[in-house]
Subunit: 386 residues, 2 copies
């Protein structure tokens, strides 16, 4: 029989020490579960301030990961930086389970494999092609039109590892810049004419699954600046996105929390764009906005507890990302309006240094109608310097 | 100008490492604020698992406290075990502020001083008398009737340090048992014929104050087994209790979070029974039950941030204390019903060992009407073995 996760010294180990692990770790503590953290960086990261159980090592080292795994009862991911084959070996050698499992992760660990996995399951994805030679760059543009997007298959996030290209010359340069000639898989992706970018989180384990409301991610320059939940689209589109998200999670037999990002095209079609086997920025609003947050259900899912209700607490919830406005020692200034607001909630990640555009904090506002709530949240956070 | 509490490495130090500091510490982390902990015990306590910044020493040692204070930006209390004179010296020698301030704490640090402070402010307290000689034991019984309660003036909690006495012989024995002949102040307190025990929390700092709903604490054998919020008493009684709680906080110029417990007599009078300069068991329900929890407002108050809304999230909120049912390594069994319930929230404190009656965890349920919600919470937690 598996060890009771609600027993003394049961420990969840996080592979990654950033704000996602930090917010999950706070939910582990709430259940009396201890938090271990493994990071590949020496500098102090958000989670390392909240546990004496901290290790550093290489994400490429089975030995480092195995040694850490042996000090925990279960491991979980906060990023996609470790190869599934390494995770699998660390799991075997330590005897400590990793969730999402290395087998699940293997099905989505890079953008090419991910698209094939979901296509094979009958889920519509953004039109794409693996670029094998320069001629492919030309052919893709001719077939799907310019501009289109080139993506490094592994490791991209928040616009890094992506390039929008408007002609062949740009495509050739971007292919080089992204490492295409260094044996790195590059895929070309059609530029989708969308009306909304949507996201849905799903938590799943052996006790069942729960699905969060369909929200809209508001993007500027490929970076998510905010979230509206529920998304201002029809009920049927919301439900369709939720159904696809559940199907995708079942396709990879996922145990943990998963996030799915969609394009809603001008024709009303949903295309699955990206997935993440971990808590996601699009779900930060669930901390106060839902009965059970994505972080709490992340912990519940990986330790094997039943999953909690994903119901919205109010008809509308808005989240604003607070990105670094300066290069300096981290400090939040001018947050008084945000702190004074009745049902507004500020979260600061505890990073020591601000950098321009770095995710430093977020702000959630609960309200009655989504566009008004989002607009109010934007105003309340306008002027915050961080 | 005071240091911005929302800046890198700002640290709140907790004097005490139990569940109250733990739940406050989780709210500090949520603001990116670091957590330090000082404990007088070597064994691992709930907070020591959630920070690498941990010290042990004596609560009677100005030097130990000063050394810890120097590593923090502000200190706060989780219990009443340290003398205000010691706190004051540690504050002076370290230059680190302590909130509630030693001066505020000095006005309530033992039951005798506390009663005098609030009586002087015109607040009705339970009839009492300092017992100076055995004849006082007889006289008090003759004046207020038997039974009555004898209390050690300092250090009592959860029924420890209290004895109900029904005649003079019992009174003499209790007086000795409580340390009356060892130069310890013992007070006699009239047995109040009450219909409800009520509680109110107040948070206050230089930005203003907020007051929580008036709740009922459900007691069995002098131990709080649960809480109903709002209390099932008239609106005017609720408001009167809230007004007294605010007045009491202003009386001691309190900065921090404070809890007040009242008797509602059969005649409809409110008598202030006890106060606490810290988060209180009666306010655990506020974590999910209110827009801003007592723990979050505790942190906001002591670091100088504006205070958050105390509004109830639903019309009724019930909390059940989960007390140790056995002497064993801590483990929560049979919690599935509680975890499955739609708006039910389990909190486990991370203590390593269960002891009979020890506060190990609690459960909060949000609902529509208070008696039905409390009754449902009781049923959902019935059978939990811990």
């Amino acid at each position: 029989m598996a060890k009771n996760p609600l027993s003394a010294n049961f420990t969840v180990g996080f592979l990654g020490a950033g704000q996602l692990a930090r917010m999950s770790g706070l939910q582990a503590f709430r259940y009396g579960i201890q938090v271990g953290v493994f990071s590949d960086r020496d500098e102090n990261e958000p989670v390392q301030f909240m546990t004496p159980h901290s290790s550093t090592g290489s994400y490429d080292s089975v030995e480092d990961l195995t040694n850490f795994a042996k000090t925990c009862d279960v491991l979980t991911l906060e990023n996609e930086f470790i190869d599934s084959s390494i995770l699998k070996k660390a799991q075997e050698q330590s005897g400590t389970n990793i969730f999402p499992s290395p087998d699940s992760f293997a099905k989505i660990e890079n953008k090419l494999i991910e698209k094939r996995t979901f296509e094979d399951a009958g889920i519509s994805v953004t039109p794409y092609k693996l670029v094998k030679k320069v001629a492919d760059l030309k052919g893709f543009g001719e077939k799907y039109g310019w501009p289109y997007v080139l993506k490094s298959s592994k490791g991209g996030y928040d616009g890094y590892g992506n390039e929008t290209v408007t002609n062949l010359e740009e495509a050739k340069k971007a292919y080089n810049d992204l490492g295409g000639h260094d044996d790195r898989d590059i895929i070309a992706e059609a530029f989708v004419d969308f009306t909304h970018e949507l996201a849905v989180q799903v938590a799943r384990n052996e006790t069942g699954h729960v699905v969060y409301p369909c929200c809209e991610t508001v993007q500027e320059n490929h970076i998510c600046v905010g979230v509206k939940s529920p998304a201002p689209v029809s009920q049927s589109i919301q439900e369709e996105a939720q159904a696809i998200a559940v199907k995708a999670t079942e396709t990879i037999d996922g145990k943990g929390i998963f996030a799915y990002e969609f394009f809603l095209t001008k024709d009303g079609d949903l295309l699955l764009n990206e997935s993440a086997p971990r808590p996601h920025n699009s779900g930060h609003y669930t901390i106060e906005g839902c009965v059970t947050s994505q972080f709490e259900n992340h912990v519940r899912a990986v330790v094997g507890l039943p999953l909690g209700s994903t119901k919205l607490r109010t008809p509308a919830v808005a989240m604003i990302n607070l990105l670094g406005t300066d290069e300096r020692k981290a400090q939040v200034d001018n947050a008084l309006n945000a702190l004074h607001a009745g049902d507004g909630h500020l979260h600061v990640y505890g990073k020591l240094d601000s950098r321009l555009g770095r995710k430093m904090a977020h702000y959630t506002l609960l309200g009655e109608t989504i566009d008004e709530t989002y607009s109010r949240a934007s105003k309340l956070t306008n002027g915050i310097h961080i």
